[in-house]
Symmetry: C2
Subunit: 357 residues, 2 copies
């Protein structure tokens, strides 16, 4: 399936299907440099498939460090020098082949080299269905994730489902975390459909019908980011589960979407304590589901909430010195609220006891 963004200008297509990669030939620039930056693991697994699909054999390939490791400033420096030494000009374009981190990193290169050149996203993970949409790109600082970045829309997103076949379980769970988050944002029914289709890690790892759910997730995200590209309002809802999740991810190094799912659980506890959307029952259903899918809940037992809280204080969405969290008020209805340290500490104690029941 192909869909197109609906911004006021500079729209781009999102091509989502098996064997989508061949479509990339329509987006290569003639007489200009097309430079592929590819996750080294993806390159190892899929080199033949990728080369077979690229008709233009002059394309330069640069393999980059796999996953989040590439998003360091020193690495950004070395890769940007490498690209600049190829004598690129403003018509040159970059092609990112890899997961969310690859897209963030290459997107930030494209946003800043020569003050902005084109790039194409070729996501190879489930998680990248989220990060490839919406134009957020960036790298990490030592004090936190994605703190240096930009908004830079790709020229096209080419989402080839073939790449998903080699994903490990952790990667599937991580991507599924964002799929599930988008379902929550859209409607309760969407979340029941997901739980129905993928009742356990066994069914989830088969990824049957995943294109339908990826499309739903992408559409939900697009609706939001087109309404509020620069996160002045409703786009903040996409941070559901991320305030606690980012802290947990940063400290424990579990996968992004796994941390987000635990962050969603954390948020549900605060919802319940504030008499908002959740209650004991909805929380139990959710915890049991996370256990069925194998989310690493036990990491909570060794996590230091003081350090997580310190990290939460640094979130770029905060206002003044208070922590801002997305909370759920009703079905598909969200609010952004200040949350006190006491509330966070109480919710953490409850989280710990719930996962050990």
């Amino acid at each position: 399936m192909i869909f197109e963004t609906t911004y006021n200008d500079n729209n781009y297509p999102i091509i989502l299907k098996q064997n989508a990669l061949a479509e990339i030939n329509h987006f290569l620039k003639e007489n200009e440099q097309n430079i592929v930056l590819i996750d080294q693991d993806v390159y190892r697994f899929h080199k033949d498939y990728i080369k077979a699909n690229l008709e233009n054999q002059d394309i330069k390939f640069i393999t980059i460090m796999s996953g989040e490791a590439c998003k360091q400033m020193s690495y950004f420096e070395s890769i940007s020098e490498k690209i600049l030494s190829l004598n690129i000009n403003r018509q040159s374009q970059l092609i990112a082949i890899g997961g969310g981190a690859t897209g963030d990193f290459v997107g930030f290169l494209a946003a800043t080299l020569l003050r902005g050149i084109d790039f194409i996203q070729v996501p190879t993970t489930l998680l990248a269905h989220d990060s490839a949409i919406g134009g957020k790109v960036g790298i990490n600082a030592s004090v936190g994730k994605n703190l240096i970045g930009a908004f830079h829309r790709p020229r096209a997103v080419i989402y080839d489902l073939n790449f998903l076949n080699t994903l490990p379980h952790t990667e599937i769970r991580s991507g599924f975390g964002e799929v599930y988050k988008h379902a929550i944002l859209n409607s309760e029914t969407d979340t029941w459909h997901l739980m129905d289709q993928y009742p356990s890690i066994r069914e989830l790892s088969r990824l049957e019908n995943i294109d339908t759910f990826l499309k739903m997730g992408i559409e939900t995200k697009l609706k939001i980011v087109i309404e509020d590209e620069f996160e002045g309002g409703v786009r903040k809802h996409l941070n559901l589960g991320h305030t606690f999740g980012h802290g947990l991810e940063y400290l424990t190094k579990i996968a992004h979407g796994e941390a987000v799912m635990i962050g969603i659980l954390f948020q549900k506890i605060i919802n319940k304590n504030r008499n908002l959307f959740d209650n004991q029952e909805s929380i139990h259903i959710f915890i049991n589901y996370l256990k069925e899918l194998g989310y690493p809940l036990s990491i909570i037992n060794n996590a230091n909430i003081e350090l997580i809280f310190d990290y939460m204080k640094k979130d770029k969405k905060n206002i003044g010195q208070t922590i801002q969290m997305v909370l759920q008020e009703g079905e598909a209805s969200f609010t952004i609220e200040s949350v006190s340290k006491d509330e966070v500490l109480d919710a953490f104690i409850e989280l710990k006891s719930l996962i050990n029941e």
Copy 2:
């Protein structure tokens, strides 16, 4: 005098006068962090004046390396970590006090920290009348200047003429290069007015009436950048003198605007050779004027044109493998043309012989 940009949105004021600095108090954010990044030399010379004009004494000051030295990636990394460790949020703002390099560097920090925060430009040099206008920000790569950057408009430009009193001659000549370039872009009459007002370095260093000419320069630049913010067309004319100039600057380390003035001379020779705007007489008048003002023309005697040409080939405005240069067709009428290596070599030989006449 105060004028306002006329973009479709996100306009900002430009305040140009003696003692303008006190106006900064109207732009400071209450209950949010205001962080001043200031050129260490400017801080040393003007610390008391600056502190006396800032009513809010909570403002954090970070001194940065003076001039172009700050625009290195490793320095960008260390200063961005320093700012992030202050727990900034998206409402925080940076204030750049310094010359063009300071504005470029701090602007790039503001463009990328948390994917973009506000910044205020407080230019302290003549040259910064150019770089503070138009939203171009960035840092250098080892292969060339300003190759990593963004477009990011300031919230305000506060141009306090008091700072100009301590500028050395080289700095004055450098800034005057861009003032003169803006005059050429606007009309012949403007260039005659400049030559009239400042017939030699003695008059120029007094900077009498400079506010009038700075205003004219800013207005010329604004007209162009508002019409073509992202340099798809007419904004390229602002690169008059820069293709050769950047190469000369990079190799010889003379001041930016001094190199641009020599680049304008170089461009005049090509104009003449192509039967465009210039002729022997206009070139002689211009060379004599450069000598009166003390531009470092003799640097040409030791410059290696092969290396300059290699640098010109890397210009981000090039298309494919050809060098693009701004040439003058008539009064205030410009064109962008491919220039061959032979033409560049011929013009260089002529330049060398002209300056030694």
